[in-house]
Amino acid sequence: MESFRSLTVTQRDQILVEQQVFDIFKTFYNLPPSSQSFMLELQRENHVEYLTKGLTGLGPSFCVLDANRPWICYWILHSIALLDEFVDPELEDNTIDFLSRCQMPHLATTYAAVNSLVTLGGEKALSSINREKLYMFLRQMKDASGGFRMHDGGEIDVRACYTAISVASLLNILDDELVQNVGNYILSCQTYEGGISGEPGSEAHGGYTFCGLATMILINEVDSLDLSGLTDWVVFRQGVEGGFQGRTNKLVDGCYSFWQGGIFALLKRLNSTKEVKPIPLGDGEGSGEESPQTTTSSDAAGEEGLNGDLSLGGSHSEIGDQHNTSSQDNVIDIDHNHSKGHANVEPLFNSLALQQYILLCSQELNGGLRDKPGKSRDHYHTCYCLSGLSVCQRSWLEDEDSPPLPRAVLGPYSNLLEPIHPLYNVVLDRYREAYEFFTKS
């Protein structure tokens, strides 16, 4: 009989990533406090510079992503908004023109374009959205089964459902026709692991779990999901590195800071309303938001981030311990004490450990964020690492309108990002403006 080889390729890759990450942590913990606080600083100016450059020069090298220009717009604009910066008015005008011209008959790009316009805000941007036409398009994409197709003749999956429902909800055009049977489709995608897969039969995945959960909340059917199973699954997707993996036994990836982290922001709100059944754990919080991983693009992201981790509480932790006992333990201790000191509300995940991963491992000091050490920055990861960071910083917070305590924000308090609306992943203020606008009109 064959037998199992003990060090699998997966395990080797995981160990390599852990070594890289723990080396960074070790260096960090051996530094004097002043340098530590420098390392933990969010390089706002550099990020803004990187992002603005990206927007101005959506240059020729991006041509492959042509169909995904709205996505790049969204990733950049949303990141800039999270950093509380503004776009130069002329550039803003051009972007609005571009977005309202693109009218691409594809749900994912529609979502990106709508979120971009909402993020830009203002009369011109918001009124450039033709809601009647958009509604007709959504109806056309609705399949008889209840799910949505990504585009005419395209695939039906959870992403498509989320982008359609999110856009409709944000624009206040969600009605029974659109909602009908979407819930059943999402339900058919929840696996025994607890998470949600892209289509029936597939394995649970962070991006889809976010999309599925957000959709169920938006259509008010979240109760029919197995929320305890879902919570159980997502809790164990955070690894020893501090970051999240997207699926069972994959490598950590910064973009899941949002996809998985955003799930906690959603669960936290549900928890206080409905109570998550199995794990009424303290409840996570954070005003994170979620984003759909909707990209169609090649880069697309997100799709799989690779994250390995220690899910189930311990895998590989020994390895971690051997290599850097002190740092790993520190992370956990810090977090634990913090949470104890605070209003009985513990997030469901280790928020400080995730912030540490984002700032030390995902951040490039000269601007932009990335998947993991050794990978290059890009706008997708910049957007979702920052979104995730915003979620974390508010993970102890119950009230969106008051700022979090300094100890909830890792690094200098100036790291604090704008809060987001976790169902749509747009900055909360912009959501409110859009909400007002579309409720009135």
Partner: protein, 696 residues
């Protein structure tokens, strides 16, 4: 751009990139012109292929190619060979696009479309998949496509099972392969394929298989999920069962007019005071079911017609499936002693959410005694005021002990149909338990401990009907406590498990349950009054459970725990008096389960955290009372929309409007200021006492 390095471009690179963009632009322009003019010449079709090789995500080009294929297939001179070669070309274009980006949604989708035309060879597809799955064994597009191909080509599940085995031997950390294994086995079980007729033979082999992975490296997470799936397959019976009911089999139910009936012949456990003219029959299933109605459940009794009974699901959502179902029998006004027979599932129609039919028809019967009633309830209830304070309780059992215990014996719910646990299931569990004890003796492993705890609990629950006690509960509690210390990050999770096990333990035997049964006596009159009060206070419970054994409870004290949620409490239909004092409830909506308790008259939610958090998170669910389903319900009620105070407190309105409370304690919550209390009085005009003050 996932993982593709991007450095600052050098000038010559920039120039090249500009040239490339121009070329693409020209291609696109030409392509759209062909597309709009419906030109499907060879040249035009080839151009679209070029475009897709550069940008596999250009979905318009994929759609154009579909149109082109349809165009040629509809030609009169079209023959099968030609079709095949045409479609093969199509597959080649997809393959090139996938080489460019093997995560391209558009390309995989197009391939499915071509294959579904049914002219292509399965072997080619499997070869291609092998190539992609070798390059990235976790690519979920490839796995999805594999399932699609296997299904549309009718490849047997057994062959695919073998494939997952090969993948697992190559890399047992490949969770995608384990996952597909569970999908395939489920399909085989469902089909009752040969060799998969019973789980009895298959599951032990799967356990063996997974042990290899777990013992090779207990820290590898892939195996654990699969193990959890196996455990679920072992424990869960496919067809739903009736776990318990109220009244239970053989009960003598006394319907009395007055709460103070001590000294009479009534058992305090089964005497029920009802001021609503009806009493509930509750069915508690072991999993959520739908289809409970007067045609699937027959109730025969002298004083109600079966077809008049309306069965309602008790679930938080408005779904038509639930574990718990309730119907109400009307109480006749005259003296009565009648036997009620309830048959469940003798005709088909009760179906679990997973689609399995209720297949163990069962029957239970009980007696109902009705005392002559003087129907002047208002007078009786005005005087009563219940205060669940320590001094008002007396532990059960000092007087008339024997009769109490006798009546208590009635409660041990042992429906004969419950014990269908097959031997192989408990044997499989016993074997797993042994195996994990061994693992833990070799190394310290958190997930191993958690699994052992789950196994022990599952074993106890399965053998409970025979052993009538939970043999391992102490050990499980210890494991949970241990895990709380070892793995503080997931502290709350283990704490919840701990709470559930503790509740199972408390409710598992007569002796342990009696220790929590108290008699309530009025401090003023010192009369011993009313039903038994079950006191589960001060147990640091973070979660409530074991409802199936507590359906008889009318007074429940859950004070001084750490509950944030009371989900599931809606099953306790007889509750008339409930204390949740000193817990961690954080919002009014957490009280939702109580809306379903029609007999609830006294509620204590004082000293919780309701209102501590200024933003109620429901606003993300329902941004205003006038949108979404919850709001539209209240919208119909004119009193709401016309009253500004109520609109501001629509959540309180939503929760409390259905309550029928006499007495409410809400002091000690941030929300409970004078203004809020005046709103409550408006919402509940029948309320007689609020925070100890009589209302005029």
């Amino acid at each position: 751009m996932h993982g593709r390095p991007r450095k600052a471009p050098k000038p010559e690179e920039e120039a090249a990139s500009v040239a490339k963009a121009q070329k693409l632009h020209a291609l696109q322009t030409q392509f759209f012109s062909f597309h709009h003019n419906k030109i499907y010449t060879k040249e035009a079709v080839e151009l679209s292929a070029k475009l897709l090789e550069i940008n596999p995500e250009s979905y318009t080009a994929w759609n154009y190619r579909k149109l082109a294929v349809e165009h040629y297939l509809s030609q009169p001179d079209c023959n099968p060979d030609w079709i095949k070669s045409f479609l093969d070309d199509e597959l080649r274009v997809v393959e090139n696009a996938l080489r460019q980006n093997f995560k391209s949604y558009g390309a995989w989708h197009h391939r499915k479309w071509v294959i579904s035309k049914g002219h292509s060879s399965i072997d080619n597809e499997l070869r291609l998949l092998d190539k992609f799955q070798k390059a990235d064994s976790r690519n979920f597009h490839a796995w999805n496509y594999r399932r699609f191909v296997a299904e549309s080509m009718k490849r047997s599940e057994q062959d695919e099972l073998k494939y997952t085995e090969d993948m697992i031997y190559k890399n047992f950390s490949n969770y995608s392969a384990w996952h597909n294994r569970s999908v395939l086995l489920s399909a085989l079980f469902e089909k009752k394929a040969e060799g998969f007729l019973s789980k009895e033979k298959v599951l032990p082999e799967e356990y063996e298989f997974i042990h290899q992975a777990i013992f090779t490296d207990p820290d590898d997470q892939s195996g654990w999920f699969y193990h959890l799936w196996l455990l679920d397959q072992t424990v869960t019976t496919d067809s739903p069962l009736l776990a318990s009911s109220w009244p239970g089999h053989g009960y003598d139910v006394f319907l009395v007019e007055d709460r103070c009936y001590n000294g009479s012949a009534f058992s305090p456990f089964t005497a029920l005071h009802s001021d609503s003219g009806s009493f509930p029959i509750v069915l508690y299933f072991n999993q959520p079911v739908g289809g409970v109605s007067s045609s699937t459940v027959t109730v025969e009794c002298g004083f109600n017609k079966n077809e008049d009974l309306l069965w309602k699901p008790l679930s938080a959502s408005n779904s038509q499936t639930a574990r718990v179902w309730v119907a109400h029998l009307k109480i006749p006004s005259s003296d009565l002693l009648s036997t009620v027979e309830v048959s469940v599932g003798h005709s088909k129609g009760i179906i679990s959410t997973r689609g399995f039919e209720y297949s163990h028809p069962s029957m239970f019967s009980f007696k109902v005694h009705v005392q002559p009633m003087e129907r002047d309830f208002s007078q009786v209830s005005v005087a009563e005021s219940i205060s669940l304070r320590e001094e008002n309780f007396k532990i059960y059992g000092s007087q008339s002990e024997e009769s109490i215990i006798n009546s208590f014996n009635q409660l041990s719910i042992k429906n004969g149909h419950e014990s269908t646990a097959s031997n192989w299931r408990s044997e499989a569990l016993a074997k797993e338990i042994e195996c994990f004890r061994e693992l833990l003796s070799l190394m310290d492993c958190k997930i191993g401990k958690l699994t052992l705890a789950r196994l022990l609990m599952a074993y106890d629950v399965m053998s409970y009907p025979f052993a009538n006690k939970l043999v391992h509960s102490e050990e499980v509690l210890e494991l949970c406590s241990d895990l709380m210390k070892l793995d503080p990050t997931h502290y709350q999770y283990y704490k919840d498990e701990h709470s559930m096990v503790l509740l199972q333990k408390v409710t598992s035997s007569k002796e342990s349950l009696l220790q929590h049964c108290f008699q309530y006596k009025d401090s003023v009159s010192s009369a011993i009054c009313g039903p038994i009060c079950l006191r589960l206070n001060n147990l640091s419970l973070s979660r409530m459970g074991a409802f199936e054994k507590l359906l008889w409870v009318q007074m429940l004290d859950l004070s001084h725990n750490e509950l944030q949620s009371i989900e599931g409490l809606e099953a306790m239909q007889l509750l008339s008096c409930l204390s949740l004092r000193n817990n961690k409830l954080r919002s009014l909506t957490a009280l939702e389960p109580l809306r379903k308790l029609k007999l609830l008259r006294v509620l204590d939610i004082s000293y919780n955290q309701i209102g501590d958090h200024s933003i109620d998170t429901t606003r993300y669910l329902c941004s205003s009372p006038l949108s979404h389903s919850v709001g539209s319900e209240s919208n119909k009620d004119e009193t709401v929309t016309s009253d500004v105070a109520l609109i501001d407190n629509w959540e309180a309105f939503y929760i409390f409007k259905d309550f029928n409370l006499n007495q409410l304690e809400i002091v000690g919550n941030t929300i409970a200021d004078e203004k809020f209390k005046s709103v409550l009085v408006k919402i509940m005009p029948k309320l007689k006492q609020l925070d100890g003050k009589l209302l005029g």
